[in-house]
Amino acid sequence: MFELSTDVGNLKELREGDFSAYDAIYLGDFSCPEYPNNFSSHAELLEAGLQHVHARGQKAYLRLYAVPGNDDLAWVGDVIDTALQLPFDALEVHNLGVLRMLRERGCTAPIHLGVFGNLYTHETAKVLKDFGVTRVYPNPELSLDEVRYIAEHADVEVLVPVHGKIPLVISETCFILEHSEDGAEGACGDGSCSYQCTQDHWLKRGRGDGSRADWSLKDTGRMTLSGKDLCMVEHGGRLADMGLKHFYVHNKGEAPGYAAAVGRIYRDALTRAFAGEAAPDFTPALDALAGLAREGLCNGYYFEGAGQRYIGRS
């Protein structure tokens, strides 16, 4: 009927968390190879992660590093070589050079294009299908109508994020480390990471007197996320009517328990929507989701506006 997926960075989080609301798990943190025991950069952990997910009847997708420099290509290649020996249900790429590497290695597993793959049109999706891409994550700037257009005109699966902080920027170095007292400038990647990203970091631009716009963004070091949590819980019926089937909850940078709580709410809402039930009172769900979102909720760009706006169903 539909697929609901989320992401988990490493084996510890996978074992300790409750991801039972999800049909599929994207394994790995595509933004930071230094993230502790990241599936995306630890080939030796792939088999254990895959087995854990498959044992629960879920699909396992492996995320590959999104912004490899030349020095990273060798180890990314090692991760790919290991992954291709395992029964992953798909590999996710963000970088077109890595996509080419997969083709060179004869990858026959489905390939998903990730959020930083810059997918804006059905024509681009057709080009990437020639490289084995079967699912695309359209750029978050696209509206729901544009997302549907791509799905229909490129004959490709589209991943539709329904909740969580939207990835806005990715960089090859760690902003937190560069500006911390412990980390000398340029130390990122030299093995001296002190994992300060385990604490929430925020970028704020605002004035109490309102003379400057009140903006906030969350920063995980190598990636900047929306301050607000994308929330589409009120719009499940519309998503179902549009023929969209693959939904996703962003979990990167969130506290333990976030994915479980959000997943339960969306599992219920989407199940009802796809069964054609009348829309319920969403107040309890919205209250619960707002309680998990320090800076509030937004709809992203789905309704043709700036990403941080929120538009209710009514």
């Binding site: 912004v67 030349n70 681009t124 929430d200 920063d219 700036a306 990403g307």
Partner: protein
């Protein structure tokens, strides 16, 4: 052959750049090149700039580096075909689908991969070569060794901005949608109507350069520091000989939104410097005083522009 690629944000700037010796000028059609409309050009002006370049012995490239929408894709291709007929010898493009379409429709044109494509490694270069590109713009972070490595791996043309290499900070090209997360605006009448409300990446408004504004940054509960998200780019000179030796064949001067007088002076300066390097010079220290003066002007103009953009952003609703 080492070429100097210069900005033409207006017809006046196009003429100045050609007069000062640019090998190639680049122009952006209204709404299709990630700049405010003041730095883009109408189709008539583009045609005139192409004619001026041709007479002056220069080429003209058209920047089509916004991402099309699904509905807009055909319009991008139609415009490109028309510009080619009007004398454009190539295009600067971001989207892979558009790249394939232009290669099919205009087989002999020169296709540059825009900085917005977010290339980060030599496998990317190979991908874009396969996709039909002739030239890639190199990442801001790359030094001579990395340029040499891609030179060995691919025959694709190598282009670099005339900025010094930087290794820290958030480098956004092709990987940033911060601006549109914070503010959107509809099209202005001068930009013509389109089928969507958009973002900087799609041409419907300028990027507000929020990464160059001051932000407060810190861990939750700790005292924040005031900070910019990236370093200001510095005009490059000392690296020129090394880059040429490593195989860079095209140097791009940024600045369609700058004053015409500044671009005129910069094109004149870099024309001389590149010619010296091509003639065998490896030391450009004698240009230090002039470079310092140009850098100062560059930074002052940049600060003015960021302030203007942020003021505009604050004025838009939603």
């Amino acid at each position: 052959m080492v070429k100097l690629l210069a900005p033409a944000g207006s017809l006046e700037m196009a003429r100045a750049a050609v007069d000062e010796g640019a090998d190639i000028i680049y122009v952006g059609p209204l709404g299709f090149s990630r700049r405010p409309y003041e730095s883009e050009m109408s189709d008539d002006a583009i045609r005139e700039a192409a004619a001026y370049a041709r007479v002056g012995g220069a080429e003209l490239r058209v920047v089509l580096n916004t991402f099309p929408t699904p509905y807009d894709f055909g319009r991008f291709v139609d415009k490109a075909v028309r510009y080619a007929a009007d004398g454009a010898s190539g295009f600067i493009v971001t989207d892979v689908g558009l790249m394939r379409a232009l290669r099919r429709e205009i087989p002999d044109t020169v296709l540059h991969v825009s900085i917005g494509s977010g290339i980060s490694n030599l496998a990317d270069a190979a991908f874009y070569r396969d996709a039909g590109a002739d030239v890639i713009i190199l990442p801001y972070r790359w030094d001579v060794a990395e340029i040499e490595s891609v030179r060995r791996a691919s025959d694709i043309g190598l282009e670099t901005f005339l900025f010094e290499t930087v290794q820290t900070g958030k480098l956004c090209p092709g990987k940033c949608i911060m601006s549109s997360y914070l503010r959107f605006r509809d099209w202005l009448e001068v930009e013509g109507s389109r089928d969507f409300h958009g973002s900087a990446n799609r041409g419907a408004k300028e990027c507000y350069r929020v990464c160059q504004a001051n932000w407060e940054f810190g861990a939750a509960g700790a005292d924040p520091v005031e900070i910019k998200l990236r370093r200001d780019a510095r005009l490059m000179l000392a690296q020129l000989p090394g880059f040429v030796a490593a195989g860079v064949t095209c140097f791009k001067l940024s600045g369609r939104e700058r004053p015409v007088g500044m671009i005129r002076d910069l094109v004149r300066f870099y024309r001389r410097a590149i010619d010296e390097v091509v003639a065998g010079a490896s030391d450009l220290d004698h240009h230090a005083a002039e470079l310092a003066e140009l850098r100062g002007r560059w930074v002052r103009e940049k600060a003015k522009r960021v302030d203007t953009l942020m003021d505009r952003a604050a004025g838009y609703v939603g």
